[in-house]
């Protein structure tokens, strides 16, 4: 049972991490609580599904186009919907909820409430520690690891990354130093949604695409970023693994309570917050800007 928990938690933690890090990034840099984050994940899944099944472009090309299209679209949404109200956190929150619901209803209108599936990118599977794992899930884990590495490189080895970190550290000083903070925020939105879109594309073959696809991961993602510490990338990664493992342990230890796995994960988050209100790796509130 231990090996089942180890493997299942690790694989599921991959997708969670991709979603949570993007969300945490945009919050850390621009203080935008983007509830529509997982809705972009859902849009990317639909886009990938449509390109793959209707145009026959193939997995790679369909995936690249889907990620690029959704990323560009998110920049447009940022400019039109979020930027005008960015100074008002509650307005941003409500705007992004509205965006997510609009995306959901548009997909419901266009595709109906059907559950759509596509074949795996790679068929077959392997046994890891005696646990059967489909290749598609291994691919998810590998892509997640590569993407997380790429984000780390971008943030810590490039000028854009330096600007993003500087803006995250102190927006006003970054602005006084001559940085175009709006452009940095826009770039951060693109990176953040790009990660969500990649998660959507690589996860589509293991989940069904439907208009409410964004809701389940949203709750888990919020739990992860709060647990890890809002704005902390390291916290998001570790939070993703913690939540994924808590879910796996719940299912294995309490089979008849498998439906409680989300609730148990949220309970862990609450317990952590009781002792560390800033989350595992978050900045203490009094030190924030």
């Amino acid at each position: 049972m231990l090996q089942d928990i180890l493997v299942t938690g690790l694989v599921n933690g991959g997708v969670y991490a991709l979603l949570a890090i993007g969300f945490s990034l945009i919050f850390g840099v621009a203080r935008i609580v983007n509830i529509a984050h997982t809705a972009f994940y859902m849009l990317a899944a639909y886009c990938f599904y449509t390109l793959l099944t209707k145009t026959g472009l193939g997995f790679l090309l369909s995936g690249v186009i889907a990620v690029a299209a959704v990323t560009l679209f998110s920049m447009l949404c940022y400019r039109l919907v979020i930027e005008p109200v960015r100074e008002h956190e509650s307005a941003v929150l409500i705007s992004t909820i509205a965006l997510a619901l609009i995306f959901q209803e548009v997909m419901l209108y266009l595709f109906g409430g059907h559950f759509l599936g596509i074949p795996s990118t790679i068929e077959g599977g392997i046994r890891i520690l005696g646990v059967s794992v489909p290749y598609q899930r291994v691919l998810i884990l590998v892509v997640a690891a590569i993407m997380l590495g790429a984000v780390w490189l971008l943030l810590y080895r490039t000028r854009l990354g330096l600007a993003i970190r500087a803006t995250a550290n102190d927006l006003e000083v970054a602005s006084l130093m001559g940085m175009n903070v709006n452009r940095v925020a826009m770039a951060t939105v693109a990176i953040s949604v790009g990660l969500a879109a990649i998660a959507g594309v690589i996860a589509t073959p293991v989940v069904s695409v439907h208009p409410h696809l964004w809701l389940d991961p949203l709750v888990i993602m919020l739990a992860i970023v709060v647990l890890g510490g809002l704005g902390s990338l390291k916290g998001s990664l570790i939070g993703a693994l913690v939540i994924a493992y808590v879910e796996a342990i719940t299912v294995f230890a309490l089979p008849a309570g498998a439906y409680l796995k989300g609730a148990v994960a949220l309970l862990i988050m609450v317990v952590v917050l009781l002792f560390r209100p800033e989350g595992l790796f978050g900045v203490a509130f009094e030190e924030e800007r």
Partner: protein, 405 residues
């Protein structure tokens, strides 16, 4: 001015006259989802057939059937469902209500319908409480009848009957005396009685319950559950799934190349789109169902073929709105009236041969359960096709298959 008023009055009179020529039936369902689509499709087929034949004979007067499409959105919102019923009763002034799918929503819709003393023929919800209401307060709830499926307790009887036959096949094929069964039921009101019954009955059927797993009805990932079931060495995964989790189970069992076979209720598995939704991974997944090209009644095969020809896919059980409308036609013509109280008495006595069942009703206005009449059929996905395999005595049934070991 006077001419305008007279013209308006004449138009109103004509309108009332025109309305009186039709019998208005509200079709209630989640129209953006497969269940609602089938509600509507079955009803359309019945309407067109009746109207083409001159309508319904109401005491010598021919009346056309007019359908009102009511999107209940009940999968997402119970209040939306009750609002839809209120609307069709008060604004559209319908004569009858047919449909519903999600038990929680149908229980609420039932209240609204009973307030207005409208006959409500349920096509979709299985919860026993709907019929229990009739027994406990007949005068209020007598306008409710369940046309499809049978109530949850009777669904369990069918499930165990089929499970017994699959268990026997496993005993023979795998040379084991006690097949191992994993119960995989979504956490919902309708599965509670079924899970309890399974835990109690399976040992008596000489089957070992290796565990009970209860994921959320909307879970998109059940790898942890399936991994544990695999580890427990189950031969059969006994499913009770109405939500999208049914797709996740079908697909992920295939991806894991599991040797256990899935049998039970998998509402998503009843849909033609299931194979595509699982990306062709749902080989050998089996489920209770209603329609297939087998001779359940003399009307089944012609209906299924006509449905496929018109909608380019096979019907699911909510297409039994067809049977509900035909039942109404039968009792209205028999009684010569659309009076609800008289029709209730008539339905209580009738045996109606429909397309999915040969139906008669008990004191709860639930279907009388009988194999070959109302118990439905069992189907298994084999190479992209839904293959019917139970009850074996019905003409057209094919063998049940097990994954290779």
């Amino acid at each position: 001015m006077l001419r305008s008023i007279l013209a308006a009055a004449a138009a109103a009179t004509l309108s009332v006259g025109a309305q009186a020529q039709t019998i208005k039936i509200a079709i209630l369902g989640p129209m953006s989802f497969v269940q609602g689509e089938n509600h509507w499709a079955g009803a359309e087929m019945a309407r067109d057939e009746i109207n083409k034949g001159g309508g319904i004979n109401v005491g010598g007067k021919r009346m056309q059937v007019e359908l009102i499409r009511a999107d209940t959105n009940e999968i997402q919102s119970v209040p939306d469902a009750t609002n839809a019923v209120e609307r069709v009763i008060t604004r559209d002034k319908v004569d009858f209500l047919i449909g519903g799918f999600r038990s929680e929503a149908v229980l609420a819709m039932q209240e609204v319908a009973m307030d207005s003393k409208k006959i409500f023929l349920g096509v979709g919800a299985a919860h026993s409480k709907l019929g229990l209401n009739v027994e406990q307060n007949y005068e209020r709830y007598k306008y409710w009848f369940r046309v499809a499926p049978t109530k949850d307790v009777d669904l369990a009887r069918t499930l165990f009957a089929v499970l017994g036959s699959i268990g026997q096949q496993i005993r023979t094929d795998l040379k084991t005396d006690t097949p191992k069964v994993a119960i995989l039921a979504e956490k919902a009101v309708w599965t509670e009685a079924l899970v309890a019954a399974a835990q109690k009955n399976l040992p008596a059927m000489k089957m070992e319950v290796v565990g009970t797993w209860q994921p959320s009805a909307t879970a998109t990932d059940v790898t942890a559950e399936l991994s544990a079931i695999d580890r427990a060495g189950a031969h059969i995964v006994f499913t009770m799934l109405s939500g999208p989790v049914g797709i996740s189970v079908g697909r992920q069992m295939g991806e894991r190349n599991m040797k256990a076979v899935a049998w039970g209720i998998n509402v998503e598995g009843q849909k033609e789109e299931f194979w595509q939704a699982t990306a062709g991974k749902a080989q050998f997944v089996s489920t209770l169902d209603t329609y297939s090209e087998v001779e359940m009644t003399p009307k089944t095969i012609p209906f299924v073929q006509a449905f496929k020809q018109r909608y380019k896919k096979a019907p699911t059980y909510t297409a039994a709105t067809y049977d509900a409308i035909m039942l109404l036609k039968a009792v209205i013509e028999q009684e010569g009236t659309t009076n609800a109280d008289k029709l209730v008495a008539a339905i209580e006595k009738i045996e109606h041969v429909g397309t999915g069942s040969t139906a008669s009703w008990d004191k709860r206005h639930d279907l009388n359960w009988a194999v070959g009449k109302t118990a439905g059929i069992a189907v298994q996905w084999q190479d992209g096709k839904k293959v019917p395999f139970w009850p074996s005595q019905v003409k057209g049934m094919q063998p049940f298959k097990m994954p290779a070991r």
